[in-house]
């Protein structure tokens, strides 16, 4: 199989830039990263399809000279799917901006709370609650029901 070196280099550059941008906090940059990444991946399909050839129409030329049509069909499908995803992410970035005034990916507060407990070397919220002696024989036990 012949491989086009230019395509490989372009693909690597796009994927590299895409991954770099993906690591950003801002959703808009993540979005741009995804666009680059998906274009890089699509070019990878062109690499996988081998040497360029004539159009793959039955009877138009010798099948040996034709380009492989399947990867192109796959790329088309991938492009459509990426388009939808990007549109959805844009909507989410916009919604995030509406709510928070920015489009940064937020931390999980529940996680933060548990990490803080670990940092303080404290026990978890629910640890030992039932074995807590002062509550064990609480006279109010049945009072509320």
């Amino acid at each position: 199989m012949d491989v086009n070196l230019t395509l490989v280099i372009v693909c690597a550059a796009l994927v590299g830039c895409g991954v770099y941008l993906l690591l950003e906090r801002s959703l808009t940059r993540v979005l741009v990263g995804l666009v680059l990444l998906s274009n890089g991946v699509n070019i990878m399909f062109l690499v996988a399809s081998g040497r360029a050839g004539t159009s793959p129409l039955v009877g138009s030329s010798d099948p040996e000279d034709m380009a492989d049509p399947l990867p192109q069909a796959l790329v088309l499908t991938a492009i459509v799917i990426t388009l939808g995803t990007i549109a959805f992410l844009l909507a989410m970035a916009h919604r995030s901006w509406q709510i928070n005034g920015n489009d940064d990916v937020q931390d999980d507060t529940e996680d933060a709370a548990i990490r803080k407990l670990a940092y303080d070397d404290a026990t978890s919220d629910s640890y030992g609650l039932t074995t807590d002696g002062q509550h064990e024989d609480d006279p109010e036990e049945d009072g509320a029901v």
């Binding site: 199989m1 993906l22 906090r25 959703l27 993540v30 995804l34 998906s38 991946v41 699509n42 990878m44 399909f45 690499v47 996988a48 399809s49 399947l70 990867p71 796959l74 499908t77 991938a78 799917i81 939808g84 995803t85 959805f88 992410l89 989410m92 919604r95 995030s96 709510i99 928070n100 920015n102 940064d104 990916v105 937020q106 931390d107 999980d108 507060t109 529940e110 933060a112 709370a113 548990i114 990490r115 803080k116 407990l117 940092y119 404290a122 978890s124 919220d125 629910s126 609650l129 039932t130 807590d132 002062q134 509550h135 609480d138 109010e140 036990e141 049945d142 009072g143 509320a144 029901v145």
Partner: protein, 568 residues
């Protein structure tokens, strides 16, 4: 006979897609919309049952779409696929009934109700297609179908917490889709086909290094979907914020689709390279780290999300052994776990309805307040922990026996790890049970006030504007110093969907619904009954999964059904 059964194969994908279109058109008429969705799902349950019988009696059912034999897209229903299809159809039906009972995920007034049903049907179509796909690219497309509808379902209503969780979920899954595309390009470049059966034949001719690269690429992709450690960290972050039925169906099905893909990858496409050691250690890490995470949580939904991750480890354990007993145990465990995890999340939705919160700190006395809820939670919780004679116990015994039969050092360690995980699961659910169901609400109220740094919420009601050390919305935790009130704020913000009052105060104010919503309880109870039924039919089911595992390890039934007579 076989021909009519053949024509049933595409229906679990076609029907929900057509139904989604119909439901979208009927968005102005909720009654008709519900009827369409419900009817479609009932039909899929029936079809899946027929396919199960057909695949068991007559071997794998294959359909080449458009009649393009050997070059088109194949849909294959073998024993494994048919079983997964049936279990997922039953579970989605129960979840749909539950969400209809809930008044259409109506926990928020602004939720665009009319898109719920079509999206749900597309999700079902994607899941069915993933189980039936005989082609890697078709598998990719079905992943995209189910992911896309899951993006929409996860961010229903677009509230702040859901957008936050949704962002992480979407980005992670898009990255995994890109990785899948990379793997597809690599596979196509290496073997010139994406049909799984053809890949299986041609991969043997590749140099070892190439086929190992392809296998690892696909394995990483599927492991992200299946939430295998260390690729599982997104899951507990994103699942708990969605509406209860959505979380339930995600927890039950989406990760299992990833597990199913791993089974296909390991048995059909790369049968000669089981990667036993690697997968065994990964399974151990998934089990232990997942369950330790579950113990640290103070919210039932998050606790369950972590147990979900943890129990994926059992399935990977079975797959890693690559023996008939191991695979059979893994398949049984998948079927068991789909029903049990979905049932638990549905019950947690009921808890949220009845008691106004799922935070353990706020709950108490549910066993007296709502005894039915207690029973509905207790049975699947014990099942999850693996208490005899329930199906969770049987599945674990099957896996542990397979591990002992394998007998290598790693397998024995895994058997020990699996037992420990089971015990820790029991600890996690028992803690939930003790806190949420057994202590009285008054006790819970007292204890919450006694927590260091936690003031009486009633004393500062109204003035509770969370103010956090935040920089553009990030809570800074780690080596950086914390603000005074970070933790309290985090606790409060973490469930700002619910009110700030605990159960005791809500009871005092008489602010709770007096009864469990009947039409939500019935589907949840139905699913708990299904999980019990799995225990009852465990014998025949294990015999079936044994046959399925034999098929998978042998490979010939699948290959000759797809490729015709020229198969090896």
């Amino acid at each position: 006979m076989s021909d009519t059964m053949n024509s049933l194969v595409p229906l679990p994908v076609l029907l929900p897609l057509l139904g989604a279109g119909a439901a979208l058109m009927l968005s102005k008429r909720p009654q008709a919309q519900r009827a369409v969705t419900f009817g479609v799902l009932v039909a899929i349950v029936v079809i899946a049952a027929f396919l199960l019988v057909a695949a068991d009696r007559h071997g794998p059912q294959v359909v080449w779409l458009g009649g393009w034999t050997d070059i088109g897209i194949a849909l294959v229903a073998d024993r494994l696929a048919a079983l997964m299809l049936l279990v997922s159809a039953v579970v989605t039906l129960a979840v749909l009934a539950y969400s209809i009972g809930q008044g259409m995920t109506g926990d928020e007034a602004e939720t665009p109700v009319s898109i719920y049903h079509p999206t749900f049907l597309v999700l079902v179509a994607g899941v069915s297609n993933a189980f039936l796909a005989g082609d890697l690219f078709n598998l990719f497309v079905s992943f995209e179908m189910l992911l896309f509808s899951s993006y929409v379902l996860l961010t229903l209503g677009g509230t702040a917490t859901r957008i936050r969780a949704g962002t992480i979920y979407v980005v992670i899954n898009v990255v995994s889709s890109m990785l899948f595309l990379v793997s597809l390009a690599a596979v196509y470049a290496a073997v010139g086909t994406l049909n799984m059966a053809q890949i299986s034949q041609r991969v043997a001719e590749l140099p070892d290094s190439v086929s190992l690269t392809l296998q690892l690429l696909l394995l990483v992709t599927f492991s992200i979907k299946a939430a295998v450690f260390p690729l599982s960290l997104w899951l507990p972050d994103s699942y708990p914020t969605a509406p209860a039925p959505v979380t339930a169906v995600f927890a039950g099905l989406l990760t299992k689709v990833g597990v199913y893909a791993i089974i296909r990858l390991q048995t059909l496409m790369f049968p000669d390279s089981p990667l036993t050691d690697l997968l065994l250690w990964v399974a151990l890490a998934t089990m232990l780290i997942g369950i330790l995470g579950a113990i640290a949580q103070s919210d039932i939904k998050r606790m369950l999300s972590f147990t979900l991750v943890s129990h994926i480890g059992y399935m990977i354990f079975g797959i890693a052994l690559a023996t008939g007993a191991g695979l059979s145990g893994a398949i049984f465990y998948v079927a068991h776990h789909i029903t049990i995890q979905t049932a638990l999340f549905l019950v947690v939705g009921l808890i949220e309805r009845r008691a106004g919160s799922t935070a353990l700190l706020r709950l108490g006395g549910l066993a007296r307040l709502a005894p039915v809820l207690g029973v509905l939670f207790f049975i699947p919780a014990m099942n999850l922990a693996g208490i005899p004679p329930l199906s969770g116990f049987l599945g674990k015994v099957g896996l542990l026996q397979a591990g002992l039969a394998e007998g290598s050092f790693a397998a024995i360690v895994l058997v020990a790890g699996g037992t420990l995980t089971s015990l820790l699961t029991l600890y996690a659910v028992a803690k939930t049970w003790a806190l949420a169901f057994w202590r009285s609400p008054a006790q819970a109220h007292e204890m919450m006030r006694a927590l260091p740094g936690e003031q009486d919420p009633a004393a500062e009601a109204g003035s509770a504007t969370p103010h956090m050390v935040r920089h553009r919305g990030h809570v800074h935790v780690g080596s950086v110093a914390f603000g005074e009130s970070d933790l309290d704020d985090a606790r409060r913000v973490a469930d700002d969907d619910s009110s700030d009052k605990d159960l005791y105060q809500l009871i005092q104010e008489d602010a709770l619904p007096q009864h469990l919503p009947y039409w939500m309880t019935v589907p949840a109870a139905g699913l708990v009954a299904v999980s019990l039924a799995i225990t009852v039919v465990a014998g025949p089911l294990f015999a079936y999964t044994d046959r399925a595992a034999t098929d998978l390890l042998d490979g010939t039934p699948y290959l000759s059904a797809v490729l015709g007579e020229d198969a090896p």
